[in-house]
């Protein structure tokens, strides 16, 4: 257990009163953000990122991670009570959570989700603690060519798996990479794509991009939904607890969901959505009463909720150990690290173990806080759903614009955010996934540096990117991730019955 001494030191950081407070604040805000329909972890982190400036980096990152896993639980309440998932990872919960609510078992659905999230979250944080050092040791052997190929693989996987269309995913990731080339070239000092705007010399401000694409675009969509008269909540009824029979039925799905969520979460591009779908399909396949799924089966809530929470820690494995985010939300978290002057990766684990392990250990604490917070307070939290949408929209708009402005007191950055909101609106309308774009933006500079270093080492020979076994394996993974959606499409057309599993 190589990581044990680091873990113990990490608890010294995580249990500091200030950091405990930020774990609590992050988990609380995350739960609230998750409950608010449509916002989700990515927009929530983007929205609150500017308010963390001025804090110690470790406290700020602990809070942002708290928002991440807090929101993964909070999304459940909106799914169960108003049939509207807080974000994509809660979509599956709707299938059985909402019917449970209609059957008067909303309290049981929310309780099993809280306990399931706690158990699975703890399983996955233990797995993260065990795997962090071996992953980082492998990553230390990577040179520019391996790093470049790893980024290519991550982007291809995220493009292929975060939307229905590979071409749209690729469009999104390359659009992000293009945005990342704006600014002064680090090697030659040459200005590129700045169009004479001094604000762009340091690159396009990250916060303008994420706030524009997530928070402001969300406001525009909330306006549409407001006119359409959507989002009508139903009241909680019945006891806020499960029966012994419901607990017995939930133990297996929670354990399996925890393992599935962590393993899938590690894979780039897969993330919470695929983890929840896989968990749901597994439970339906294993159930003696598959016909009950979709009509309020508690297994259909317990498994996916556990998988969802567990995938959060899985997602953090490549981010913390390799410096490579595997999803939109971890890409935003990477942006936050970079804004604090911290580059996650194997070097960080060696140079600042207190920060990395403090962050990991804060998740153990955060899981306990979430459980303590959610079980007694869920009745109170769901009242947030009754907050008038007009006030909610105005609040998001004002906090988003204030956040962007307050970082550098730059009105140009506000205009940029508004511009990105318009682009984001059309992205969403055209069903183009935004996660690959954010990944392109945060990895763009690293990718160009790795490409140029590799080409310099080889004297301009691009075959360096296929010169080592690791590069070849990553190239094979890239090809697989690009071809898999097409193969899956052909497979599902030949076997239409496979679709009925979900």
């Amino acid at each position: 257990m190589e990581s044990l001494p680091y873990m113990i030191d990490g608890f010294a950081v995580a249990l500091q009163p200030t950091n405990l407070m930020f774990v609590f604040v992050g988990a609380l805000l995350g739960t609230i953000i998750g409950i608010l329909p449509g916002i989700g972890a990515t927009a929530g982190i983007a929205l609150l990122l500017p308010l963390t400036f001025g804090l110690e980096p470790v406290s700020a990152l602990i809070m942002l991670c708290g928002i991440y896993y807090g929101s993964s639980y909070g999304g459940t309440a909106a799914s169960v009570l108003i049939n509207t998932p807080g974000d994509g990872t809660s979509v599956i919960t709707v299938f059985d959570g909402y019917p449970m609510a209609r059957n008067g078992r909303a309290g049981a659905a929310l309780a099993v989700a809280a306990v399931g999230s706690f158990v699975a979250g703890t399983i996955s944080v233990i797995a993260l603690s065990v795997l962090a050092i071996p992953f980082a040791s492998v990553a230390l052997e990577f040179g520019p060519a391996e790093n470049f190929m790893l980024m290519v693989f991550t982007m291809s996987a995220v493009s292929a798996f975060t939307g229905g269309s590979l071409a749209k995913g690729m469009f999104s990731v390359f659009f992000g990479l293009m945005i990342a080339t704006a600014g002064i070239d680090l090697q030659s000092g040459q200005e590129r794509f700045t169009f004479g705007f001094p604000t762009l010399q340091d690159g396009v401000p990250f916060l303008s991009i994420v706030v524009g694409f997530f928070a402001l675009t969300e406001v525009l969509y909330q306006i549409k939904a407001w006119y359409a008269g959507e989002l009508k909540p139903i009241k909680i009824s019945g006891k806020l607890w499960c029966t012994p029979e419901e607990w017995r039925r939930s133990i297996g799905p929670i354990t399996r969901g925890g393992v599935i969520g962590f393993l899938v979460g590690i894979l780039p591009g897969a993330g919470g959505i695929i983890a929840t779908v896989l968990s749901y399909a597994t439970e339906k396949r294993l159930s003696k009463h598959p016909e009950m799924f979709g009509k309020g089966a508690i297994e259909g809530v317990a498994g996916p909720e556990a998988a969802n929470n567990s995938s959060v820690s899985g997602n953090l494995v490549p981010l913390l150990t390799l410096g490579i985010p595997g999803s939109g939300v971890t890409a935003v978290l990477l942006g936050a690290f970079i804004m604090y002057g911290i580059q996650p990766g194997p070097q960080l684990m060696q140079e600042q173990p207190a920060l990395v392990w403090g962050l990991i250990d804060s998740m153990y604490v955060g899981n306990v806080i979430l459980l303590v917070l959610n079980l007694p307070l869920i009745g109170l939290f769901v009242r947030i759903l009754y907050l008038p949408s007009g006030i909610l929209m105005a609040g998001i708009l004002v906090v988003a614009l204030t956040g962007v402005y307050s970082v550098n007191n730059s009105i140009t950055e506000v205009y940029l955010a508004l511009g990105f909101a318009v682009v984001g609106y059309f992205f969403r309308k055209a069903a183009i996934p935004v996660a690959p774009l954010i990944l392109g933006v945060v990895l763009g500079n690293l990718m160009e540096q790795a490409f140029r270093q590799g080409m310099t080492i080889s004297g301009g020979d691009p075959l360096i990117f296929l010169s080592t076994p690791v590069c070849l394996i990553l190239a094979a993974f890239t090809l697989f991730s690009l071809l898999a959606p097409t193969a899956q499409h052909i497979w599902s057309r030949r076997r239409p019955s496979a679709k009925s599993l979900v």
Partner: protein, 153 residues
């Protein structure tokens, strides 16, 4: 929609490529220089535009859900209105000041989407603007513009 995205991707790729082509390079630079990587991205975007076009050609036309033209018009008006309010906010933030513009933006949006509750909207708008102003300026030291209310400090 699919073809429009393909055309947009083509226009983005070709404009980007044209700008990248004009990035000056020097002989003594690394084998790649500041131009090659953006040119590769631009070229890739052109290929992606072709993929998008082919995908749009192959797409099976789906019968569009019936739309209510009146609802659509109201949604567009609402979105344009909110966007115009946000632009007006950005235009006046520094001259008029944070507190007043934030209060007005909040009041405008709540009045439009939380109708018939003027007292609540006024209280929420004033409370939010004041909370953010005091919190950011006094506690976090963010220099927010005071504008015409500079006498408040």
């Amino acid at each position: 929609m699919g073809r429009s995205i393909a055309i947009a991707a083509f226009l983005i790729g070709s404009s980007y490529l044209a700008i990248a082509y004009n990035i000056p390079t020097r002989a003594a630079e690394d084998p790649v220089g500041p131009r090659m990587y953006p040119m590769l991205l631009g070229g890739a975007m052109l290929l992606i535009s072709m993929m998008l076009w082919m995908e749009a050609q192959r797409a099976v036309p789906v019968a569009a859900a019936p739309v209510d033209p009146l609802l659509q018009r109201r949604q567009r008006l609402g979105i344009f209105g909110a966007a115009a309010a946000a632009v007006a906010y950005a235009l006046t933030l520094e001259s008029v000041g944070y507190l007043l513009t934030t209060f007005l933006l909040m009041l405008g949006v709540t009045s439009a989407f939380h109708r018939g509750k003027l007292a609540t909207n006024l209280a929420v708008s004033l409370g939010t603007a004041t909370f953010l102003y005091v919190g950011l300026k006094r506690f976090l030291g963010v220099p927010l513009p005071s504008g015409i209310l500079s006498f408040l400090g």
